[in-house]
Symmetry: C2
Subunit: 211 residues, 2 copies
Amino acid sequence: MSSTPQKRAVRKSPAERAAEITEAAREIALEAGLTALTLRNVAARVGVASGLVAHYQPNMDALVSNTFATIVAAETQEVAGLLSLQPGPSERLALLVDTLLDNSRLDVTAIWVEAWTLGRRNETLAASVREQMDAWQKVFQGVVEDGNATGAFNVSDAAAVAWQILGMVDGLNAQALVRWDGVNDRGTHLARAVEGMVGAAPGSVVAKPSG
Amino acid sequence: MSSTPQKRAVRKSPAERAAEITEAAREIALEAGLTALTLRNVAARVGVASGLVAHYQPNMDALVSNTFATIVAAETQEVAGLLSLQPGPSERLALLVDTLLDNSRLDVTAIWVEAWTLGRRNETLAASVREQMDAWQKVFQGVVEDGNATGAFNVSDAAAVAWQILGMVDGLNAQALVRWDGVNDRGTHLARAVEGMVGAAPGSVVAKPSG
DNA sequence: ATCCTTGTTGATCGCACGATCAACAATGCT
DNA sequence: AGCATTGTTGATCGTGCGATCAACAAGGAT
């Protein structure tokens, strides 16, 4: 019947303990949001005293923004990696739209939305948010510029269009967070919208079949 | 040197006091967000004891969601009112896009974004968020259906496209909240994207000149 | 076997929150 | 003038937060 007596945490190297805390913070954020990142919460998950978590972090704002950056950067790199496998710009753009709207990353979307709000009161986090947004925008911009080069697209300001597409994807994902029901073929509609923006031929950015 | 002695608040009718509290909550939310809506905060603004605010509200969740609904519904009705002055669907759609992206309502956008997150832990608020989103979607849907009727647009699923446009607008506004710099002619890009979605002729949805 | 470094504890401080409620006082009625 | 109604106060409770730090103990070095 010993619930969880756990006398004392085993002594570990600073690097190992820091990694544990980082990982615990990541899990908590994905499950319950950045707001759930408290000293006591993280400590409980790691199985140590709250003071130890504080010992490994300058302050909680830093832990929050680092956790945000860790989660979001991983997603960016994962999706960017998938892009390189595609033959051309139209296919890459289609994959981007498709992948980002497939609802398999709603937990990450929730963190984005939360970070937009928390950033108003956590300057460290705000800086991190801008940095990660820039990274995403660069991914889109690269695809648009590719399309310009091959003649598939016709865009005068690739950076602006990239920002625009990113904003649309974010908005649709945030919407799915609150209203998961409703529209099904979001990818198809967005693909058509994006075709209009990049000056691609209608139907050239094809949403992957739902299978 | 009497800072603010204010012995005791003047006695007012319940209706009047309730209105004061509602208004104070509205102002606080617009200035500092829904999270800043605390008993003590609202009470201080009205100039009464914290207990009185609690007396007029069943609980804080209710005050938060009512305040959200008040602010957001006012915006919806204001913009919807402007629509009726426009001659045709293309102009209405252009006005919608233009008005919503003119950055004059970023404080309301901030409240939307915050509500998306807070709704995860405040079911009353979540219901209110869905309700207000539906109202916005209906506005867009009406415009799209108008365009279908006049032949200006060609949309098979007006409801879905309306959701889509709403999501895009929300996303671009949220982006402006974090990155106010960057893209200028968001209206033009979005207009082009929307033309693609509604099947309108390129250039038929014209963004108002920035003057 | 002893000591010293250092990872770890947990109590503690100050603060802010929502909620509650007995006591108070202003107002209007009789 | 006296009284009942009711808007209002402010102290209080319990909770949770970030942060701090003296005390403790595990492990390696000697």
